[in-house]
Protein backbone atom coordinates (compact mmCIF):
# COMPACT_ATOMS: atom_id res chain seq x y z
CA UNK A 1 0.00 0.00 0.00
CA UNK A 2 1.38 3.36 -0.97
CA UNK A 3 2.10 5.64 1.90
CA UNK A 4 2.23 9.18 0.65
CA UNK A 5 3.61 10.44 3.92
CA UNK A 6 6.81 8.47 3.61
CA UNK A 7 7.31 8.20 -0.11
CA UNK A 8 10.07 10.26 -1.65
CA UNK A 9 8.56 10.13 -5.08
CA UNK A 10 6.54 13.16 -5.99
CA UNK A 11 3.01 12.61 -7.11
CA UNK A 12 2.11 13.79 -10.56
CA UNK A 13 0.05 16.61 -9.10
CA UNK A 14 3.06 17.76 -7.05
CA UNK A 15 5.37 17.59 -10.02
CA UNK A 16 2.95 19.79 -11.94
CA UNK A 17 3.15 22.33 -9.14
CA UNK A 18 -0.49 21.94 -8.15
CA UNK A 19 0.50 21.51 -4.51
CA UNK A 20 3.65 21.01 -2.50
CA UNK A 21 2.45 19.80 0.86
CA UNK A 22 2.71 16.18 1.94
CA UNK A 23 -0.68 14.57 2.20
CA UNK A 24 -1.46 13.08 5.59
CA UNK A 25 -4.37 11.95 7.68
CA UNK A 26 -7.83 11.36 6.31
CA UNK A 27 -7.06 13.09 3.00
CA UNK A 28 -4.39 10.51 2.24
CA UNK A 29 -5.29 8.31 -0.71
CA UNK A 30 -4.65 4.62 -0.18
CA UNK A 31 -4.30 2.11 -2.95
CA UNK A 32 -5.40 -1.49 -2.81
CA UNK A 33 -2.57 -4.00 -2.72
CA UNK A 34 -3.60 -7.65 -3.39
CA UNK A 35 -0.75 -8.85 -1.14
CA UNK A 36 -2.41 -7.18 1.80
CA UNK A 37 -5.95 -8.24 0.93
CA UNK A 38 -6.41 -10.05 4.23
CA UNK A 39 -5.98 -6.73 6.01
CA UNK A 40 -8.94 -5.19 4.24
CA UNK A 41 -12.33 -5.48 5.91
CA UNK A 42 -15.34 -4.16 4.09
CA UNK A 43 -17.32 -2.95 7.06
CA UNK A 44 -21.06 -3.52 7.22
CA UNK A 45 -21.43 -6.11 4.47
CA UNK A 46 -23.21 -9.43 4.76
CA UNK A 47 -23.93 -12.52 2.73
CA UNK A 48 -27.68 -12.60 2.39
CA UNK A 49 -30.20 -14.94 0.79
CA UNK A 50 -32.80 -13.27 -1.45
CA UNK A 51 -35.22 -16.09 -0.67
CA UNK A 52 -35.07 -15.32 3.02
CA UNK A 53 -37.76 -12.67 3.41
CA UNK A 54 -39.05 -10.66 6.33
CA UNK A 55 -41.12 -7.58 7.14
CA UNK A 56 -40.18 -4.69 9.39
CA UNK A 57 -42.75 -2.20 10.69
CA UNK A 58 -40.95 1.10 11.40
CA UNK A 59 -44.02 3.02 12.50
CA UNK A 60 -42.75 3.43 16.04
CA UNK A 61 -39.03 3.52 15.24
CA UNK A 62 -36.93 6.57 14.50
CA UNK A 63 -34.61 6.44 11.51
CA UNK A 64 -31.58 5.38 13.52
CA UNK A 65 -33.45 2.50 15.14
CA UNK A 66 -34.95 1.46 11.80
CA UNK A 67 -31.59 1.46 10.01
CA UNK A 68 -29.99 -0.51 12.83
CA UNK A 69 -32.79 -3.06 12.61
CA UNK A 70 -32.27 -3.40 8.84
CA UNK A 71 -28.57 -3.98 9.51
CA UNK A 72 -29.40 -6.66 12.09
CA UNK A 73 -31.75 -8.42 9.66
CA UNK A 74 -29.06 -8.44 6.97
CA UNK A 75 -26.59 -9.86 9.47
CA UNK A 76 -29.09 -12.69 10.04
CA UNK A 77 -29.03 -13.41 6.31
CA UNK A 78 -32.33 -11.86 5.25
CA UNK A 79 -32.01 -10.88 1.58
CA UNK A 80 -35.50 -9.49 1.06
CA UNK A 81 -36.75 -6.96 3.57
CA UNK A 82 -40.12 -5.22 3.31
CA UNK A 83 -40.39 -2.00 5.30
CA UNK A 84 -43.90 -1.16 6.48
CA UNK A 85 -45.12 2.31 7.47
CA UNK A 86 -42.08 4.44 6.64
CA UNK A 87 -44.45 7.45 6.81
CA UNK A 88 -42.07 9.99 5.35
CA UNK A 89 -39.27 9.43 7.84
CA UNK A 90 -35.86 10.77 6.87
CA UNK A 91 -32.67 8.85 6.13
CA UNK A 92 -34.18 5.37 5.93
CA UNK A 93 -32.17 2.61 4.24
CA UNK A 94 -28.91 4.54 4.04
CA UNK A 95 -25.40 3.07 3.81
CA UNK A 96 -26.31 -0.43 2.65
CA UNK A 97 -23.18 -1.90 1.09
CA UNK A 98 -24.26 -5.33 -0.10
CA UNK A 99 -26.85 -7.03 -2.27
CA UNK A 100 -30.36 -6.84 -0.86
CA UNK A 101 -33.95 -6.56 -2.00
CA UNK A 102 -35.31 -3.67 0.00
CA UNK A 103 -38.96 -2.74 -0.48
CA UNK A 104 -40.60 0.26 1.17
CA UNK A 105 -44.38 0.04 1.43
CA UNK A 106 -44.90 3.79 1.65
CA UNK A 107 -43.08 7.07 1.28
CA UNK A 108 -39.68 8.23 2.45
CA UNK A 109 -38.59 11.64 3.66
CA UNK A 110 -35.24 13.29 3.00
CA UNK A 111 -32.00 11.44 2.22
CA UNK A 112 -33.68 8.06 1.65
CA UNK A 113 -31.37 5.18 0.61
CA UNK A 114 -28.33 7.45 0.45
CA UNK A 115 -24.77 6.18 0.04
CA UNK A 116 -25.82 2.69 -0.98
CA UNK A 117 -23.58 0.28 -2.85
CA UNK A 118 -25.42 -2.67 -4.34
CA UNK A 119 -29.00 -3.14 -3.11
CA UNK A 120 -32.11 -3.27 -5.25
CA UNK A 121 -34.59 -0.85 -3.74
CA UNK A 122 -38.24 -0.27 -4.56
CA UNK A 123 -40.24 2.51 -2.95
CA UNK A 124 -43.97 2.07 -3.36
CA UNK A 125 -44.56 5.71 -2.56
CA UNK A 126 -42.82 9.04 -2.82
CA UNK A 127 -39.35 10.20 -1.75
CA UNK A 128 -38.24 13.56 -0.38
CA UNK A 129 -35.12 15.59 -1.10
CA UNK A 130 -31.79 14.00 -1.95
CA UNK A 131 -32.96 10.45 -2.53
CA UNK A 132 -30.06 8.03 -3.19
CA UNK A 133 -27.45 10.75 -2.72
CA UNK A 134 -23.96 9.35 -3.33
CA UNK A 135 -25.29 6.01 -4.54
CA UNK A 136 -22.45 3.82 -5.82
CA UNK A 137 -24.23 0.83 -7.34
CA UNK A 138 -27.54 -1.00 -7.40
CA UNK A 139 -30.98 -0.07 -8.61
CA UNK A 140 -33.58 2.16 -7.00
CA UNK A 141 -37.12 2.43 -8.35
CA UNK A 142 -39.51 5.08 -7.03
CA UNK A 143 -43.12 4.41 -7.97
CA UNK A 144 -44.42 7.95 -7.33
CA UNK A 145 -42.83 11.42 -7.24
CA UNK A 146 -39.47 12.56 -5.88
CA UNK A 147 -38.31 15.80 -4.30
CA UNK A 148 -35.39 18.01 -5.25
CA UNK A 149 -31.77 16.91 -5.58
CA UNK A 150 -32.86 13.45 -6.75
CA UNK A 151 -29.70 11.40 -7.23
CA UNK A 152 -27.34 14.12 -6.05
CA UNK A 153 -23.72 13.14 -6.67
CA UNK A 154 -24.48 9.52 -7.57
CA UNK A 155 -21.50 7.63 -8.89
CA UNK A 156 -23.14 4.55 -10.31
CA UNK A 157 -26.21 2.37 -10.54
CA UNK A 158 -29.69 3.02 -11.91
CA UNK A 159 -32.01 5.47 -10.19
CA UNK A 160 -35.53 5.55 -11.56
CA UNK A 161 -38.50 7.72 -10.64
CA UNK A 162 -41.75 6.86 -12.37
CA UNK A 163 -43.36 10.17 -11.39
CA UNK A 164 -42.02 13.72 -11.49
CA UNK A 165 -38.98 15.08 -9.67
CA UNK A 166 -38.10 18.46 -8.19
CA UNK A 167 -35.23 20.83 -8.90
CA UNK A 168 -31.52 20.04 -9.29
CA UNK A 169 -31.98 16.40 -10.26
CA UNK A 170 -28.57 14.81 -10.76
CA UNK A 171 -26.71 17.76 -9.29
CA UNK A 172 -23.00 16.95 -9.21
CA UNK A 173 -23.67 13.53 -10.74
CA UNK A 174 -20.47 11.56 -11.22
CA UNK A 175 -21.75 8.44 -12.93
CA UNK A 176 -24.66 6.05 -13.23
CA UNK A 177 -28.06 6.68 -14.75
CA UNK A 178 -31.06 8.67 -13.57
CA UNK A 179 -34.37 8.07 -15.34
CA UNK A 180 -37.50 10.13 -14.70
CA UNK A 181 -40.87 9.14 -16.15
CA UNK A 182 -42.52 12.53 -15.59
CA UNK A 183 -41.28 16.11 -15.48
CA UNK A 184 -38.20 17.56 -13.81
CA UNK A 185 -37.65 20.97 -12.23
CA UNK A 186 -35.07 23.72 -12.68
CA UNK A 187 -31.33 23.11 -12.83
CA UNK A 188 -31.58 19.46 -13.84
CA UNK A 189 -28.04 18.12 -14.26
CA UNK A 190 -26.53 21.15 -12.54
CA UNK A 191 -22.73 20.73 -12.52
CA UNK A 192 -22.99 17.08 -13.52
CA UNK A 193 -19.66 15.50 -14.31
CA UNK A 194 -20.42 12.10 -15.73
CA UNK A 195 -23.26 9.66 -16.26
CA UNK A 196 -26.61 10.06 -17.96
CA UNK A 197 -29.92 11.64 -17.08
CA UNK A 198 -33.07 10.67 -18.96
CA UNK A 199 -36.22 12.79 -18.53
CA UNK A 200 -39.22 11.54 -20.46
CA UNK A 201 -41.32 14.62 -19.67
CA UNK A 202 -40.59 18.34 -19.57
CA UNK A 203 -37.72 20.03 -17.73
CA UNK A 204 -37.53 23.47 -16.15
CA UNK A 205 -35.11 26.32 -16.63
CA UNK A 206 -31.31 26.13 -16.70
CA UNK A 207 -31.03 22.53 -17.88
CA UNK A 208 -27.47 21.21 -17.51
CA UNK A 209 -26.16 24.47 -16.08
CA UNK A 210 -22.36 24.41 -15.74
CA UNK A 211 -22.18 20.72 -16.59
CA UNK A 212 -18.64 19.37 -16.99
CA UNK A 213 -19.52 16.25 -18.89
CA UNK A 214 -22.18 13.56 -19.13
CA UNK A 215 -25.34 13.43 -21.20
CA UNK A 216 -28.94 14.48 -20.63
CA UNK A 217 -31.83 13.23 -22.75
CA UNK A 218 -35.17 15.06 -22.62
CA UNK A 219 -38.40 13.78 -24.11
CA UNK A 220 -40.54 16.88 -23.57
CA UNK A 221 -40.12 20.64 -23.53
CA UNK A 222 -37.04 22.36 -22.14
CA UNK A 223 -37.55 25.53 -20.08
CA UNK A 224 -34.12 26.87 -21.01
CA UNK A 225 -30.55 25.68 -21.39
CA UNK A 226 -28.11 26.52 -18.62
CA UNK A 227 -24.63 27.94 -19.07
CA UNK A 228 -22.53 25.81 -21.40
CA UNK A 229 -25.22 23.20 -22.01
CA UNK A 230 -25.64 22.53 -25.72
CA UNK A 231 -27.78 20.31 -27.90
CA UNK A 232 -26.08 17.43 -29.65
CA UNK A 233 -27.39 15.14 -32.43
CA UNK A 234 -28.87 11.82 -31.39
CA UNK A 235 -26.95 8.82 -32.70
CA UNK A 236 -27.94 5.20 -33.21
CA UNK A 237 -25.90 4.35 -30.13
CA UNK A 238 -27.96 6.80 -28.09
CA UNK A 239 -31.21 5.31 -29.32
CA UNK A 240 -30.10 1.74 -28.68
CA UNK A 241 -28.83 2.61 -25.23
CA UNK A 242 -32.04 4.48 -24.32
CA UNK A 243 -34.28 1.65 -25.50
CA UNK A 244 -32.29 -0.86 -23.48
CA UNK A 245 -32.10 1.33 -20.39
CA UNK A 246 -35.81 2.16 -20.34
CA UNK A 247 -36.53 -1.54 -20.48
CA UNK A 248 -34.19 -2.16 -17.55
CA UNK A 249 -35.82 0.73 -15.73
CA UNK A 250 -39.33 -0.71 -16.27
CA UNK A 251 -40.45 2.64 -17.59
CA UNK A 252 -41.57 4.37 -20.80
CA UNK A 253 -43.22 1.50 -22.67
CA UNK A 254 -43.32 2.33 -26.40
CA UNK A 255 -41.72 5.74 -25.80
CA UNK A 256 -40.18 7.03 -29.03
CA UNK A 257 -36.66 7.81 -27.84
CA UNK A 258 -35.52 8.90 -31.31
CA UNK A 259 -37.36 12.20 -30.82
CA UNK A 260 -35.62 13.03 -27.56
CA UNK A 261 -33.31 16.02 -27.24
CA UNK A 262 -29.73 15.20 -26.33
CA UNK A 263 -27.86 17.75 -24.23
CA UNK A 264 -24.13 17.72 -23.48
CA UNK A 265 -21.50 20.10 -22.11
CA UNK A 266 -20.20 22.72 -24.50
CA UNK A 267 -16.89 22.51 -22.60
CA UNK A 268 -16.26 26.21 -22.86
CA UNK A 269 -16.73 26.63 -19.12
CA UNK A 270 -14.99 23.48 -17.88
CA UNK A 271 -12.96 21.23 -20.13
CA UNK A 272 -11.32 18.33 -18.37
CA UNK A 273 -10.72 16.63 -21.70
CA UNK A 274 -7.67 18.90 -21.96
CA UNK A 275 -6.14 17.25 -18.88
CA UNK A 276 -4.21 14.01 -18.94
CA UNK A 277 -6.40 11.03 -17.94
CA UNK A 278 -4.88 10.65 -14.48
CA UNK A 279 -5.40 14.28 -13.62
CA UNK A 280 -8.87 14.26 -15.14
CA UNK A 281 -9.79 11.32 -12.96
CA UNK A 282 -8.39 13.03 -9.91
CA UNK A 283 -10.15 16.28 -10.65
CA UNK A 284 -13.52 14.60 -11.15
Amino acid sequence: MANLKTTDKKTKAQSMGMHTETLTGKTQQKFFNPDEAENFFYWGTYDVDFNKRTELDVKDLDCKQANKKIDELMSEGYGTIVIKNPQGKHSLGVGILNKLNLIFEGSLGYFGVGSIDGPMVRVNGRVGWSCAENMMAGKVVIEKNAGSCFGAAIRGGDLICKGSVGARTGIDQKGGTIIVGGDAGAFTGFMMQRGRIVILGDVGINLGDSMYDGTIYVGGKIGSFGSDAVESPMTKNDIDWLNRKLKVGEIGDNFDVSKMTKVVAGKKLWNYDALEPTEKKGAI
Binding site: Q87, G88, K89, H90, G106, S107, G109, Y110, G125, R126, G128, W129, K144, N145, A146, G147, S148, G163, S164, V165, G166, A167, R168, D183, G185, A186, F187, G204, I205
Partner: protein
Protein backbone atom coordinates in the same frame (compact mmCIF):
# COMPACT_ATOMS: atom_id res chain seq x y z
CA UNK B 1 -33.64 26.69 8.17
CA UNK B 2 -37.24 27.10 9.30
CA UNK B 3 -40.29 24.91 8.95
CA UNK B 4 -43.59 26.05 7.54
CA UNK B 5 -46.91 24.26 7.34
CA UNK B 6 -50.37 25.07 6.13
CA UNK B 7 -53.70 23.44 5.49
CA UNK B 8 -57.11 24.36 4.16
CA UNK B 9 -60.36 22.43 4.41
CA UNK B 10 -62.59 23.04 1.47
CA UNK B 11 -66.30 23.19 2.18
CA UNK B 12 -66.03 22.30 5.85
CA UNK B 13 -64.44 23.18 9.18
CA UNK B 14 -62.16 21.13 11.34
CA UNK B 15 -60.00 21.33 14.42
CA UNK B 16 -57.34 23.36 12.59
CA UNK B 17 -55.62 24.33 15.83
CA UNK B 18 -54.84 20.75 16.74
CA UNK B 19 -53.98 19.79 13.16
CA UNK B 20 -51.53 22.66 12.70
CA UNK B 21 -50.01 21.94 16.09
CA UNK B 22 -49.24 18.36 14.97
CA UNK B 23 -47.77 19.56 11.69
CA UNK B 24 -45.55 22.17 13.31
CA UNK B 25 -44.41 19.88 16.08
CA UNK B 26 -43.27 17.41 13.41
CA UNK B 27 -41.11 20.23 12.01
CA UNK B 28 -39.62 21.22 15.34
CA UNK B 29 -36.13 20.11 14.25
CA UNK B 30 -36.24 22.78 11.54
CA UNK B 31 -36.87 25.60 14.00
CA UNK B 32 -36.93 25.27 17.77
CA UNK B 33 -36.73 28.99 18.69
CA UNK B 34 -40.30 30.15 18.27
CA UNK B 35 -43.57 28.94 16.81
CA UNK B 36 -46.40 30.88 15.29
CA UNK B 37 -49.93 30.11 14.19
CA UNK B 38 -52.35 32.00 11.96
CA UNK B 39 -55.65 30.21 12.45
CA UNK B 40 -58.80 31.15 10.58
CA UNK B 41 -61.42 30.34 13.16
CA UNK B 42 -65.17 29.97 13.05
CA UNK B 43 -65.88 33.31 14.69
CA UNK B 44 -69.27 34.98 14.28
CA UNK B 45 -67.80 37.65 12.02
CA UNK B 46 -69.54 40.47 13.87
CA UNK B 47 -66.48 42.00 15.53
CA UNK B 48 -62.83 42.46 14.77
CA UNK B 49 -60.41 40.22 16.65
CA UNK B 50 -57.48 42.35 17.75
CA UNK B 51 -54.42 40.49 18.98
CA UNK B 52 -51.62 42.65 20.28
CA UNK B 53 -48.66 42.60 22.61
CA UNK B 54 -47.51 45.23 25.07
CA UNK B 55 -44.10 43.72 25.71
CA UNK B 56 -41.69 41.06 24.56
CA UNK B 57 -40.73 37.52 25.41
CA UNK B 58 -36.98 37.89 24.97
CA UNK B 59 -34.68 35.14 23.79
CA UNK B 60 -31.12 34.89 22.50
CA UNK B 61 -29.91 37.74 20.30
CA UNK B 62 -32.99 39.88 20.77
CA UNK B 63 -32.62 43.65 20.91
CA UNK B 64 -35.69 43.86 23.15
CA UNK B 65 -35.77 43.64 26.94
CA UNK B 66 -38.04 41.92 29.41
CA UNK B 67 -39.96 44.38 31.56
CA UNK B 68 -41.95 44.20 34.75
CA UNK B 69 -45.58 43.15 34.44
CA UNK B 70 -46.68 46.47 35.96
CA UNK B 71 -45.20 48.20 32.88
CA UNK B 72 -47.26 45.94 30.63
CA UNK B 73 -50.40 46.71 32.63
CA UNK B 74 -49.83 50.44 32.28
CA UNK B 75 -49.39 50.09 28.52
CA UNK B 76 -52.57 48.09 28.31
CA UNK B 77 -54.45 50.94 29.96
CA UNK B 78 -53.04 53.34 27.36
CA UNK B 79 -54.20 50.99 24.60
CA UNK B 80 -57.70 50.91 26.10
CA UNK B 81 -57.77 54.69 26.19
CA UNK B 82 -56.57 54.90 22.59
CA UNK B 83 -59.27 52.47 21.44
CA UNK B 84 -61.86 54.63 23.16
CA UNK B 85 -60.54 57.72 21.38
CA UNK B 86 -60.66 55.87 18.06
CA UNK B 87 -64.30 54.92 18.60
CA UNK B 88 -63.50 51.21 18.88
CA UNK B 89 -65.47 49.84 21.85
CA UNK B 90 -64.13 46.67 23.44
CA UNK B 91 -66.73 43.90 23.37
CA UNK B 92 -64.58 41.28 25.07
CA UNK B 93 -61.02 41.14 26.35
CA UNK B 94 -58.71 38.28 27.33
CA UNK B 95 -55.29 38.51 28.90
CA UNK B 96 -53.35 35.60 27.40
CA UNK B 97 -49.91 36.16 28.91
CA UNK B 98 -48.50 39.08 30.90
CA UNK B 99 -47.57 40.70 27.60
CA UNK B 100 -50.27 39.73 25.11
CA UNK B 101 -54.02 40.24 24.74
CA UNK B 102 -56.94 39.24 22.58
CA UNK B 103 -59.72 41.80 22.20
CA UNK B 104 -62.98 41.70 20.33
CA UNK B 105 -63.74 45.22 19.17
CA UNK B 106 -66.23 47.05 17.03
CA UNK B 107 -64.67 49.26 14.39
CA UNK B 108 -65.73 50.33 10.90
CA UNK B 109 -63.14 52.89 9.82
CA UNK B 110 -59.71 52.79 8.20
CA UNK B 111 -57.54 50.01 9.60
CA UNK B 112 -54.28 51.67 8.63
CA UNK B 113 -55.09 54.78 10.66
CA UNK B 114 -56.29 52.55 13.49
CA UNK B 115 -53.06 50.56 13.46
CA UNK B 116 -50.85 53.61 13.33
CA UNK B 117 -52.66 55.10 16.31
CA UNK B 118 -52.43 51.95 18.43
CA UNK B 119 -48.81 51.24 17.51
CA UNK B 120 -47.82 54.83 18.31
CA UNK B 121 -47.83 53.61 21.90
CA UNK B 122 -44.30 52.58 22.84
CA UNK B 123 -43.61 48.82 22.59
CA UNK B 124 -47.14 48.00 21.50
CA UNK B 125 -47.47 45.84 18.39
CA UNK B 126 -50.61 44.62 16.73
CA UNK B 127 -50.11 40.95 15.90
CA UNK B 128 -53.26 40.74 13.82
CA UNK B 129 -56.63 42.24 13.06
CA UNK B 130 -59.38 40.29 11.38
CA UNK B 131 -62.84 38.84 11.64
CA UNK B 132 -61.57 35.27 11.59
CA UNK B 133 -57.77 35.51 11.89
CA UNK B 134 -56.27 34.45 15.22
CA UNK B 135 -52.52 35.08 15.00
CA UNK B 136 -50.47 33.71 17.88
CA UNK B 137 -46.69 33.54 18.14
CA UNK B 138 -44.31 33.07 21.00
CA UNK B 139 -41.09 31.37 22.01
CA UNK B 140 -41.03 27.58 22.25
CA UNK B 141 -42.11 24.66 20.11
CA UNK B 142 -45.58 24.05 18.72
CA UNK B 143 -46.83 22.15 21.74
CA UNK B 144 -45.57 24.76 24.19
CA UNK B 145 -47.17 27.66 22.33
CA UNK B 146 -50.41 25.78 21.71
CA UNK B 147 -50.72 24.89 25.37
CA UNK B 148 -49.88 28.42 26.50
CA UNK B 149 -52.59 29.94 24.30
CA UNK B 150 -55.11 27.07 24.29
CA UNK B 151 -55.01 26.51 20.54
CA UNK B 152 -55.77 22.83 20.26
CA UNK B 153 -59.51 23.40 20.41
CA UNK B 154 -59.71 26.10 17.74
CA UNK B 155 -62.19 25.11 15.05
CA UNK B 156 -61.80 26.69 11.64
CA UNK B 157 -61.29 26.25 7.93
CA UNK B 158 -57.59 26.86 7.42
CA UNK B 159 -54.35 28.01 8.91
CA UNK B 160 -50.64 28.50 8.39
CA UNK B 161 -47.80 28.15 10.85
CA UNK B 162 -44.08 28.51 11.30
CA UNK B 163 -41.34 26.88 13.36
CA UNK B 164 -38.51 29.40 13.45
CA UNK B 165 -34.77 28.99 13.59
CA UNK B 166 -33.58 32.54 14.13
CA UNK B 167 -30.89 33.49 11.61
CA UNK B 168 -31.60 37.01 10.38
CA UNK B 169 -32.66 38.54 13.69
CA UNK B 170 -32.98 37.67 17.37
CA UNK B 171 -35.26 35.29 19.20
CA UNK B 172 -38.35 37.23 20.21
CA UNK B 173 -42.02 37.58 19.32
CA UNK B 174 -41.61 40.56 17.01
CA UNK B 175 -39.32 38.55 14.72
CA UNK B 176 -41.42 35.40 14.87
CA UNK B 177 -43.77 34.39 12.11
CA UNK B 178 -46.52 34.59 10.95
CA UNK B 179 -46.59 38.24 9.97
CA UNK B 180 -49.83 40.09 9.69
CA UNK B 181 -50.44 41.66 6.26
CA UNK B 182 -50.76 45.16 7.65
CA UNK B 183 -53.12 46.98 7.15
CA UNK B 184 -55.40 44.29 5.71
CA UNK B 185 -57.76 42.37 7.93
CA UNK B 186 -57.31 38.60 7.95
CA UNK B 187 -54.05 38.48 5.93
CA UNK B 188 -51.04 36.55 7.24
CA UNK B 189 -47.73 35.25 5.87
CA UNK B 190 -45.12 32.64 6.82
CA UNK B 191 -41.80 32.21 5.05
CA UNK B 192 -38.89 29.80 4.81
CA UNK B 193 -35.76 31.25 3.22
CA UNK B 194 -33.69 34.41 3.01
CA UNK B 195 -34.46 37.61 1.13
CA UNK B 196 -31.47 39.51 -0.15
CA UNK B 197 -33.10 42.75 -1.28
CA UNK B 198 -34.81 43.37 2.03
CA UNK B 199 -33.39 46.84 2.73
CA UNK B 200 -33.97 48.19 -0.78
CA UNK B 201 -37.56 47.02 -0.75
CA UNK B 202 -38.09 48.19 2.81
CA UNK B 203 -36.95 51.73 2.03
CA UNK B 204 -39.26 51.90 -1.01
CA UNK B 205 -42.25 50.52 0.88
CA UNK B 206 -41.72 52.73 3.92
CA UNK B 207 -41.70 55.74 1.61
CA UNK B 208 -45.10 54.56 0.43
CA UNK B 209 -46.44 54.57 3.98
CA UNK B 210 -46.12 50.89 4.82
CA UNK B 211 -44.92 49.84 8.27
CA UNK B 212 -42.30 47.35 9.42
CA UNK B 213 -42.24 46.19 13.02
CA UNK B 214 -39.17 43.96 12.98
CA UNK B 215 -35.88 43.60 11.18
CA UNK B 216 -36.79 40.11 10.04
CA UNK B 217 -36.49 39.80 6.26
CA UNK B 218 -39.60 37.64 6.12
CA UNK B 219 -41.81 40.54 7.20
CA UNK B 220 -41.04 42.07 3.80
CA UNK B 221 -43.26 39.48 2.08
CA UNK B 222 -46.32 40.47 4.10
CA UNK B 223 -45.68 44.16 3.50
CA UNK B 224 -44.86 43.62 -0.19
CA UNK B 225 -48.13 41.74 -0.78
CA UNK B 226 -50.15 44.19 1.30
CA UNK B 227 -48.84 47.11 -0.75
CA UNK B 228 -49.75 45.35 -4.00
CA UNK B 229 -53.24 44.60 -2.73
CA UNK B 230 -53.61 48.16 -1.49
CA UNK B 231 -53.05 49.25 -5.08
CA UNK B 232 -55.76 46.96 -6.39
CA UNK B 233 -53.92 43.73 -7.19
CA UNK B 234 -55.51 40.43 -6.25
CA UNK B 235 -53.66 38.20 -3.81
CA UNK B 236 -52.53 35.90 -6.62
CA UNK B 237 -51.36 38.82 -8.77
CA UNK B 238 -49.34 40.15 -5.86
CA UNK B 239 -47.81 36.73 -5.28
CA UNK B 240 -46.80 36.41 -8.93
CA UNK B 241 -45.17 39.83 -8.79
CA UNK B 242 -43.27 38.75 -5.70
CA UNK B 243 -41.39 36.12 -7.74
CA UNK B 244 -39.44 38.89 -9.45
CA UNK B 245 -39.85 41.66 -6.87
CA UNK B 246 -38.28 39.62 -4.08
CA UNK B 247 -34.71 38.48 -4.47
CA UNK B 248 -33.33 35.48 -2.64
CA UNK B 249 -34.63 32.04 -1.86
CA UNK B 250 -38.06 31.47 -0.49
CA UNK B 251 -41.10 29.34 -0.11
CA UNK B 252 -43.92 31.22 1.54
CA UNK B 253 -47.57 30.76 2.40
CA UNK B 254 -50.11 33.53 2.58
CA UNK B 255 -53.65 33.23 3.90
CA UNK B 256 -56.73 35.43 3.80
CA UNK B 257 -60.13 34.88 5.39
CA UNK B 258 -61.19 32.48 2.65
CA UNK B 259 -58.02 31.43 0.81
CA UNK B 260 -54.58 29.93 1.18
CA UNK B 261 -51.71 30.40 -1.24
CA UNK B 262 -48.14 29.25 -1.76
CA UNK B 263 -45.26 30.64 -3.80
CA UNK B 264 -41.86 29.17 -4.52
CA UNK B 265 -38.88 31.11 -5.82
CA UNK B 266 -37.52 30.60 -9.32
CA UNK B 267 -34.50 28.68 -8.03
CA UNK B 268 -36.71 26.21 -6.11
CA UNK B 269 -34.13 26.40 -3.39
CA UNK B 270 -36.47 25.88 -0.45
CA UNK B 271 -38.45 22.73 0.10
CA UNK B 272 -42.18 22.24 -0.05
CA UNK B 273 -44.26 19.09 -0.15
CA UNK B 274 -47.88 19.35 -1.15
CA UNK B 275 -50.93 17.13 -0.76
CA UNK B 276 -54.08 18.10 -2.57
CA UNK B 277 -57.49 16.43 -2.53
CA UNK B 278 -61.05 17.60 -3.18
CA UNK B 279 -61.67 18.56 0.42
CA UNK B 280 -58.21 19.17 1.89
CA UNK B 281 -54.91 20.76 0.92
CA UNK B 282 -52.00 20.24 3.30
CA UNK B 283 -48.44 21.35 2.77
CA UNK B 284 -45.23 21.67 4.66
CA UNK B 285 -41.46 21.91 4.45
CA UNK B 286 -41.24 18.16 4.89
CA UNK B 287 -43.55 15.25 4.25
CA UNK B 288 -43.57 14.26 7.92
CA UNK B 289 -45.63 17.37 8.64
CA UNK B 290 -48.38 16.12 6.36
CA UNK B 291 -48.03 12.56 7.66
CA UNK B 292 -48.68 13.82 11.17
CA UNK B 293 -52.32 14.43 10.21
CA UNK B 294 -52.63 11.97 7.31
CA UNK B 295 -50.78 8.80 8.32
CA UNK B 296 -52.31 6.73 5.52
CA UNK B 297 -50.52 6.40 2.19
CA UNK B 298 -51.22 9.46 0.06
CA UNK B 299 -49.88 11.05 -3.11
CA UNK B 300 -47.72 14.11 -2.53
CA UNK B 301 -45.45 16.17 -4.74
CA UNK B 302 -42.99 19.06 -4.78
CA UNK B 303 -44.30 22.16 -6.57
CA UNK B 304 -41.85 23.35 -9.23
CA UNK B 305 -39.73 26.49 -9.32
CA UNK B 306 -41.65 29.77 -9.69
CA UNK B 307 -44.97 28.10 -8.93
CA UNK B 308 -47.84 30.03 -7.35
CA UNK B 309 -51.04 28.36 -6.20
CA UNK B 310 -54.08 29.67 -4.37
CA UNK B 311 -56.94 27.60 -2.94
CA UNK B 312 -60.33 28.76 -1.66
CA UNK B 313 -62.19 27.39 1.36
Amino acid sequence: MCGIAGLIHRGKSSNVGEELQSMLQALKHRGPDSTGYALYANNDGQNFILRFKVGENVGEGSTSVNEDESVYNERKKIVDKKLSELGAPIVKEEKLTPYSYRYEIKYDKDLMEFSKAVESIENVEILSIGKSLELIKDLGDANVVSERYGLNKVQGTHGIGHARMATESGVDIKSAHPFWGYPFADVSVVHNGQLTNYWNNRRVLENKGMRFMSECDSELIAVFLAEKMRNGATLEEGMRESLTGLDGVFTYFVATKDSLGMAKDTMAAKPLVLYESDDLVAMGSEEIAIRSILPQEIDTYDPFDGEVKVWQT
